[in-house]
């Protein structure tokens, strides 16, 4: 290999024995990801009569995991030089990879719970772009990893095109204290748990395996009948039991959020934003301002009652990381109004009370109103003929349902708004919850003006804005103004020299 001949001083290292756990975890993740591949094996387990088959399959799988983790650990070699990370991996197919520091977009330290007691860490390195590579080096000593990360980040901004950002970032990387910092206390994180409650996800997860087997029918119900027969005697006890289970799930779901976001600390250092959190495993996510693709400020109905916001910043991810999305997005799950104000300033968003929201034409109501109008007669007919309600009650239900839907349609139209100025394009929508999406202009990749036959009849068009963080539709603009906005924006993007990847 030429790389070896030019750099004979490379010292290839193996990760410590402790990292075997990391490789095992990786195998297990792989197993969950490719779960469908194992469905035939599962089918065999269910079909077979012999008692030993499940154990044999499970046991051989465990052995397989252990051996492949062992081999992967044996054959994972890395070397650090002054300007690059070198990796040599692969048991049968060999892979050799060199990542120059100056090409590195992101370098994060992840302290998982099984490394924390030993003061070890995982270094995660991204080189973004269309052929993004992600590299993980497990089991580095904390101090060495931190130094390495500093080195990478100090070298990285050199490829950045904006002179201002470069100097700032270099300064920031060398500076010890971040320029702006905030900490979230436990009460706030619990609020985040209430807002982002995964109770329904938990319920679905629990109910699926139960529904798949007859275990509930065959074992649980007779057992319950035999042992706690008194339940049936009291309706209130039943209701209480269900409520208790639900509230337990609710608390469990809050606990999930608390474990993920415990001790959340956000710091801003030049153009680098960082969030650190976690009770057992400490996770760091960060992004650099020039790579920002979208800022989403979201409130669901619980968040509105608690007067909190959820802020999510999207950046361009390497293609591989996109599939495991969510894990690497920069999310602040609970932001109070004052902090939101401050964040908007830090992110250079237009001041909340200076945003000029434009509403869309009332003709946008026509099409949904038309479809909702079908609802009333259909409900009435179903109520009368299929469910055999009386004529008046089916009529009343139909009117009520139609009224609700129509109100929803009107509010959705009323709360929809968009705004644009010299740097940002913003769209807000939502009836019960509220969402605001902010896109910087210079990240726009394509602009579409779309007309269906219906829109053409009315003389309107939708503007579809494509960015790397997804597409946003600005509805019901008059065709002339849509085409004019398209030209104006595309001109602005075309003349912008800022990096956009």
């Amino acid at each position: 290999m030429s790389e070896q001949s030019t750099q004979p001083q490379l010292k290839w290292q193996r990760t410590p024995w402790l990292t075997l756990g990391f490789f095992i975890a990786k195998e297990i993740k792989l197993f969950i990801k490719n779960f469908t591949n194992f469905l035939p094996a599962l089918a065999v387990i269910f079909v077979t009569d012999s008692a030993w088959v499940p154990y044999a399959l499970g046991g051989s799988y465990l052995v397989y995991i252990f051996i492949s983790a062992l081999l992967n650990h044996r054959f994972f070699l890395f070397a650090l030089s002054n300007d690059a990370v070198h990796l040599r991996t692969g048991v049968l197919g060999k892979k050799s990879l060199t990542l120059k520091y100056e090409r590195i977009q992101q370098a994060e330290l992840e302290q998982t719970w099984y490394f924390r007691p030993f003061n070890l860490t995982i270094l995660k390195v991204d080189s973004a772009g269309s052929a993004g590579k992600e590299v993980e080096i497990p089991g580095l000593p904390m101090q060495q990893a931190q130094q390495l990360r500093q080195l990478m980040l100090a070298t990285a901004p050199a490829v950045e095109s904006e002179p201002g950002a470069t100097t700032e970032a270099t300064q920031a990387a060398t500076a010890e204290e971040p320029q702006w910092q905030t900490q979230f206390n436990l009460a706030e994180i619990i609020k985040a748990g209430v807002i982002d409650n995964k109770i329904f996800v938990l319920l679905a997860l629990l109910s699926y395996p139960l529904s798949q087997t007859d275990w509930l029918q065959e074992q649980m119900v007779p057992w319950l009948e035999a042992n706690i027969g008194f339940i049936e005697s009291s309706l209130w006890l039943n209701v209480g039991l269900v409520l208790a289970v639900l509230s337990l799930l609710f608390v469990l779901a809050i606990a999930v959020t608390v474990i993920t976001y415990y001790d959340l600390a956000v710091s801003i250092n030049g153009d680098r934003y960082q969030a650190r959190s976690g009770l057992f495993s400490i996770r760091t996510v960060s992004f650099r301002y020039p790579k920002l693709q979208r800022v989403q400020i979201k409130q669901n109905i619980r968040a509105r009652l608690l007067k909190r916001f959820r802020v999510r910043v999207s950046q361009l991810q390497p293609a591989m990381a996109q599939h495991t999305a969510g894990s690497s997005a920069f999310i602040l799950p609970v932001v109070n109004p004052e902090l939101l104000h401050e964040l908007r300033q830090q992110l250079n968003l237009t001041n909340a009370n200076q945003v000029h929201w434009q509403s869309i034409s009332a003709l946008a109501l026509l099409s949904p109103t038309f479809w909702v109008a079908w609802l009333a007669p259909i409900t009435c007919l179903i109520g009368y003929f299929a469910i055999e309600l009386s004529l008046t009650s089916s009529f009343l239900i139909a009117v009520l349902l139609w009224g609700l839907m129509q109100t929803y349609v009107v509010f959705r139209w009323r709360n929809y708004g968009f705004s644009y100025d010299s740097t940002w394009l913003a769209v807000k929508h939502g009836v019960l919850g509220r969402t605001e999406n902010w896109y910087p202009y210079y990240k726009i990749q394509q602009l579409d003006v779309y007309q269906s036959p219906w829109l053409r009849m009315l003389g309107f068009a939708h503007i579809i804005v494509h960015t790397a963080a997804g597409a946003e539709v600005i509805k019901y603009q008059s065709l002339a103004s849509a085409l004019q906005l398209q030209q104006q924006w595309i001109q602005q993007v075309g003349q912008n020299q800022q990096r956009w990847m």
């Binding site: 269309s130 050199a158 490829v159 950045e160 095109s161 002179p163 470069t166 361009l316 726009i444 990749q445 394509q446 602009l447 579409d448 003006v449 779309y450 007309q451 269906s452 036959p453 053409r456 494509h466 790397a468 085409l483 398209q486 030209q487 595309i490 001109q491 993007v493 075309g494 003349q495 912008n496 020299q497 990096r499 956009w500 990847m501």
Partner: protein, 168 residues
């Protein structure tokens, strides 16, 4: 600033019509196979119930749709962006800034090759396949446009490159 739309080659209409005939012909063959070779056709509706709509759709697509689509399809190039109009009933005007283009491609399908046509496709990064494809160009025109675009993209990015060098 107004943009000047360039129409595509009239042969594009022919290529659309050929595609319509091929697609509808395939459908017709499948239908014919069903009616002629399936042993018991009593459960199928009378063949005319399918043949008449088929003929109407074929005529509609072959005469009305393809000419409307040809009429509306046009492209425009400004100094900083590329525009494309396409569609017949559902219409889309797409604009791509030149400095977002990742690579440019000239492609020829089988029908296009017999008619001497090609299409020029611009890819933008990170959009996952959504891009701009100008159909119905003469092969020479497409090649020339590709060369001009590649040129423009190269000069577009050079100020950035020099700036970085100065800085380093």
């Amino acid at each position: 600033m107004s943009i000047t739309w360039q129409p595509v080659e009239p042969a594009y209409k022919t290529s659309l019509q050929i595609a319509v005939i091929l697609d509808m012909g395939l459908l017709a063959i499948v239908g014919a196979v069903f009616y002629l070779w399936v042993p018991n056709t009593s459960w199928l509706p009378n063949a005319l119930w399918l043949a008449i709509p088929w003929a109407v759709i074929t005529l509609f697509l072959g005469l009305f749709w393809s000419s409307r689509r040809f009429q509306f399809t046009a492209y425009a190039r400004t100094d900083a962006s590329m525009y494309l109009r396409r569609g017949a009933l559902w219409r889309l005007t797409r604009a791509v800034p030149l400095n977002r283009i990742q690579h440019v491609e000239v492609r020829q399908g089988l029908i296009e090759r017999t008619l001497g046509l090609a299409h020029l496709t611009l890819y933008t990064a990170g959009s996952g396949g959504a891009d701009l494809s100008i159909p119905g160009l003469k092969l020479a025109t497409a090649e020339a446009m590709k060369a001009a675009l590649v040129d423009a993209i190269a000069t577009e990015s050079s100020p950035v490159a020099t700036e970085t060098e100065e800085h380093v």
